[in-house]
Amino acid sequence: MSGIPVLDDGSKQQRYEALVDSYYQDVYRYGFWLSKNQSLAEDLVQETFLRAWRSLDSLQDEKAAKAWLFTILRRENARLYERYRPELVDIEDQSIAESTDKEPDQSMDKELLYSAISRLDSDYREPLLLQVIGGFSGKEIADILKLNSNTVMTRLFRARSKLRQQFVPDEHQQEQD
């Protein structure tokens, strides 16, 4: 929406709070997958929304707000945390809510799938999570990750096929690593 007048502080506040309400959960969830720690994920989300507030005037198109927030989150994660991340992280299973209503083998499958997602190389896991948590298109994912679309498509393909192979191992795989 070009030519929008500068908002007064009240409108800016409302606009900001609407952004928080709409997106804080997805942003937190993605932040948790990046950091694997509840406290750090909360710090990431706080910093993300603070920076969003400071540069809210630069967001021209509300439709781009979610991708914009995820881009800020990734930048914050890189700044605060990624430098010293160990290669393999011990994954605490705090994310899987206790599901006492499920059959034991269903819970086991969920844990196995969670573990499999966590152990994907981050180059594959992150586009996949952007797709399934953020609901982003290939083009949006490419913009967020600053990759070209073909690379994103290849990584999505590899992420899913690797996961699928672990659970349906006799299925014909088109691409081997």
Partner: protein, 243 residues
């Protein structure tokens, strides 16, 4: 659509709505059946990815934090609600002063408050255990134009976290967390104007010192009762200014 292309498209996005993909699926019962299984699997991935529980009150804390943000030098620590500390720090954390030869100025005290606030904001990093090595530590020290001496004292230091720091956004600073005898010890070195005199920071949970040094300020903070002198000596004796 040949099978290779079909599978490539399906794995990239099992819910691809492009007309050519949809037509290929509708016109081939094997593709359709295979895709339905893949979509069911993908639904499980989506469920798992989105099952991360959201901490209670998160939206309120995000909004609260922003309301405190613009230009404010407030004294309430950012995430005290979320910190599992045994002491709740009230708004307006007080700084207890030990009188030295001269009293810290109001500006010095305000700086101490900012540092404390920053510590609470980054309290999550106190649990870090990144096993930072000597080379990595010195890469961080480059930010402030300093370096650690290469000796056994520094090599034996257990550094759990090291990064540049934004405690004072316009000044370069570094933030280290090392293992102390009572828990983690934070030291922050900031290239800003040195405070007029050394003074303590004590707020019931943390025990620390702000120390003017050659190129700025050294802040050392540990858990209550942590002996801090050895860390002051460690920095004084093993850090060299390169610039």
């Amino acid at each position: 659509m040949d099978e290779i292309e079909f599978r490539r498209r399906a794995y990239t996005n099992p819910f691809d709505a492009d007309a050519d993909f949809v037509d290929a699926v509708e016109s081939n019962s094997e593709y359709k059946s295979w895709l339905q299984e893949l979509q069911a699997f993908d639904a499980q991935i989506t469920d798992i990815a989105n099952e991360i529980p959201i901490p209670e009150g998160l939206a309120e804390r995000i909004k609260y934090r922003q309301k405190k943000e613009p230009g404010s030098m407030n004294l309430s620590p950012r995430r005290y609600l979320a910190i599992a500390a045994s002491v709740i720090i009230a708004v307006g954390a007080t700084v207890s002063l030990t009188l030295y030869n001269s009293r810290p100025t109001a500006e010095d005290i305000a700086f101490g408050d900012v540092v404390l606030q920053h510590l609470y904001a980054e309290a999550a990093f106190l649990d870090s255990n990144f096993d930072v090595n000597f080379q990595q530590a010195n890469q961080v020290m480059e930010v402030i134009g300093a370096k650690f001496d290469d000796n056994t004292t520094i090599r034996n230091l257990i550094i759990k976290f090291a990064n540049d720091c934004l405690v004072i956004p316009l000044n370069e600073s570094v933030h280290f967390i090392v293992e102390g005898s009572n828990g983690p010890v934070t030291f922050i070195i900031i290239n800003n104007n040195p405070v007029s005199t050394e003074f303590n920071l004590d707020d019931g949970r943390f025990s620390g010192k702000v120390i003017p040094i050659e190129n700025g300020n050294l802040v050392i903070v540990g858990e209550k009762d942590e002996p801090l002198e050895r860390f002051r000596n460690l920095i004084n004796e093993n850090v060299e200014w390169v610039i």
